[in-house]
């Protein structure tokens, strides 16, 4: 009996929180057929927002992958003073609100700060432009790759790497031939999660981008802006596109996850 109540609660909970809202958006989007959907997404503003989103997300994923692998190796394989502090810092973005991140970036890189002024004199504009949005996205998605690989690296141990060394492999060779294949599924999982987070980021990017339509507007900002301007079809179409991307990445992570288990025997 208790089992049925529990099951019913879970179903209702999910229904109201997830299925109903997402379903409604999709229903509204495709209510008048595929035509309006395609039309809304191929408007110049929408296409531009797509491009901005892809650019920002791509840079953020690359940066977080490189940093994530490096930081994970540092945390698992090396002892150094301040190691616990680094570990705590990596988790910080989980706790800090993205809006705070955005404001902090403006404080550091804004036109009227020393760092921002210097960069500006070199012709690099950070805030209200792509570099700032990449920075904000990198920060927000920072822990995902690191936290995906750390447990696998720990479980892997360093004996295989040491064996590779005694067989004549350099550090780079043992990393490429032994470590990387050992963590590939976890790395893939982390990268996909990081991509999903980057595509969906709103708060921090909203602050640092300045929300300049057709300039620094990402897809999430586009949804919000269209909605505010009573252009519901465009807002729903873009929202559906974002949701579809999320579903695809979710399926990807599901594909990547079980392989890790069968790998780790």
């Amino acid at each position: 009996m208790a089992k049925h109540v529990l099951r019913l609660t879970a179903v209702v909970y999910i229904l109201f929180l997830l299925v109903l809202p997402v379903g409604l958006i999709i229903w509204r989007t495709f209510g008048d057929g595929l035509g309006p959907f395609v039309e809304a997404l191929t408007s110049p503003s929408a296409v531009h927002a797509f491009k901005v989103t892809i650019t920002v997300a791509a840079w953020a994923v690359v940066a977080n992958t490189v940093f994530g692998v490096g930081a994970a190796l540092l945390l698992v394989r090396h002892e150094f003073p301040g190691k616990r502090l680094l570990g705590a810092f990596i988790d910080l973005p989980m706790a800090v609100s993205p809006v705070v991140v955005g404001l902090a970036l403006i404080l550091v890189y804004g036109r009227f700060s020393p760092a921002g002024g210097l960069l500006e004199s070199w012709g690099i504009q950070v805030i209200f432009s792509t570099p700032g949005m990449v920075l904000a996205t990198v920060f927000v998605a920072l822990p995902l790759v690191v936290r995906a690989i750390v447990p696998v690296l720990e479980e892997l141990g360093d004996e295989q790497e040491q064996a590779a060394h005694t067989l004549g492999a350099s550090r780079l060779q043992s990393f490429v031939r032994i470590t990387l294949p050992g963590i590939r599924w976890a790395l893939g999982y982390g990268v996909v999660l990081c991509l999903a987070r980057s595509l969906g980021e709103y708060g921090a990017v909203a602050v640092v981008s300045g929300r300049l339509v057709d300039q620094t507007q990402t897809l999430t900002l586009f949804v919000e802006e269209r909605f505010q301007n009573f252009d519901q079809p465009a807002a729903f179409a873009a929202a559906t596109a974002l949701a579809l991307i999320a579903v695809v990445t979710l399926l990807l992570t599901k594909l990547l996850r079980p392989k890790d288990l069968s790998d780790g025997n």
């Binding site: 064996a163 060394h165 005694t166 031939r177």
Partner: protein
């Protein structure tokens, strides 16, 4: 000398793990590093391989000072206790790894790997992955992988430690035969004295980070440097303040010259051997006799017997503690 370790010290934090360790390993020999758990055997082996850097002291391999060389350049083969198999590579690719790193031609690699796989009886399993092998097979694969690069010395850390008793015994004999075929200077770590005596031609006893004794199995067994080594290398019992091997004691029913009277408390038959537990006054001791001897003396608990070290018996006088 293939390996010369001189005055090596190594600490982890404040705890010294190796203290003034000096070891010579002759070319072509099969040497056992024997000692109790935590004695520093693995650490010494890792220092020789370059996986651990000594605080002081030097390591020479084939006459070359290797103390500051990275493991990559030492040309040693290392076999880890838990095999350290490359899980994502097939058996073939595991063994080929060192040769691929050295950029040997493809057909040369193929030929050499298949030779080695034959040597370790894994030629039929070349395409399997390590997770599809048994423990013993993985161990042999790790051995073939280490041998592939023709190392100057082969270092094995408890090569049979993780295997069950039966497989252990087989692999032991096999390692001895393999060494007689390949002749590569080999050092292996073990905490099993029987394994060391059976396989090695030199035994180095390491305890508390110090070399306690080094020599042939016969020497170390018959002339132990101190009571610790004597206890560690085989069964001992205490009679009249001396450590004696229980098979070095003569037992008789009548009084003998220089014999000590004792009362039998238990007779345990272990197949061919019979273990006779006795009391000398209040002290407990035991004597190992053959079944035939035991039958002849018709020993049973409560009998009084007389014990005497057999001629030529080795004993160590225990200093009063």
């Amino acid at each position: 000398m293939a390996i010369e370790v001189r005055d090596v010290n190594k600490s982890f934090g404040a705890t010294p793990v190796l203290r003034d360790v000096s070891v010579d390993v002759e070319s072509g020999s099969l040497t056992a590093l024997l000692g109790p758990s935590g004695g520093g055997k693995s650490t010494l082996l890792r220092v020789i391989a370059g996986l651990e850097r000594p605080d002081t002291g030097t390591v020479r391999i084939s006459g070359v000072d290797a103390t500051r060389l990275s493991p990559q350049r030492r040309n040693v083969g290392f076999v880890f206790q838990h095999y350290a198999a490359f899980k994502h590579l097939s058996v073939f690719r595991n063994v080929a790894f060192g040769l691929e790193i050295r950029k040997r031609p493809k057909d040369e690699i193929r030929k050499r790997v298949m030779e080695l796989l034959e040597l370790v009886h894994l030629e039929k399993l070349a395409d399997r992955y390590p997770s599809q092998l048994s423990g013993g097979q993985r161990q042999r694969m790790a051995l073939a992988r280490a041998l592939a690069v023709e190392p100057e010395v082969l270092l094995l850390d408890e090569p049979f430690g993780a295997l069950d008793a039966q497989v252990r015994k087989e692999l032991r004999a096999w390692l001895r035969r393999l060494h007689d075929e390949v002749h590569v200077t080999t050092v292996f770590v073990t905490h099993d004295q029987e394994e060391a005596i059976e396989v090695a031609d030199t035994i180095v006893v390491l305890a508390n980070g110090e070399v306690v004794q080094a020599g042939s199995p016969g020497e170390v067994y018959d002339n132990p440097a101190n009571p610790f080594v004597m206890r560690f290398l085989g069964p001992v019992t205490e009679i009249g303040g001396s450590l004696v091997r229980p098979h070095d004691i003569e037992i008789s029913s009548g009084p003998v010259e220089g014999g000590a009277p004792a009362v039998v408390s238990r007779v345990v038959r272990l197949g061919f051997e019979v273990r006779v537990e006795v009391k000398i006054g209040t002290e407990e001791a035991w004597v190992q006799v053959t079944r035939e001897q035991a039958d002849r003396l018709a020993l049973s608990p409560g009998d009084t017997v007389h014990l005497k070290p057999s001629p030529g018996a080795r004993s160590l006088v225990l200093s009063a503690v």
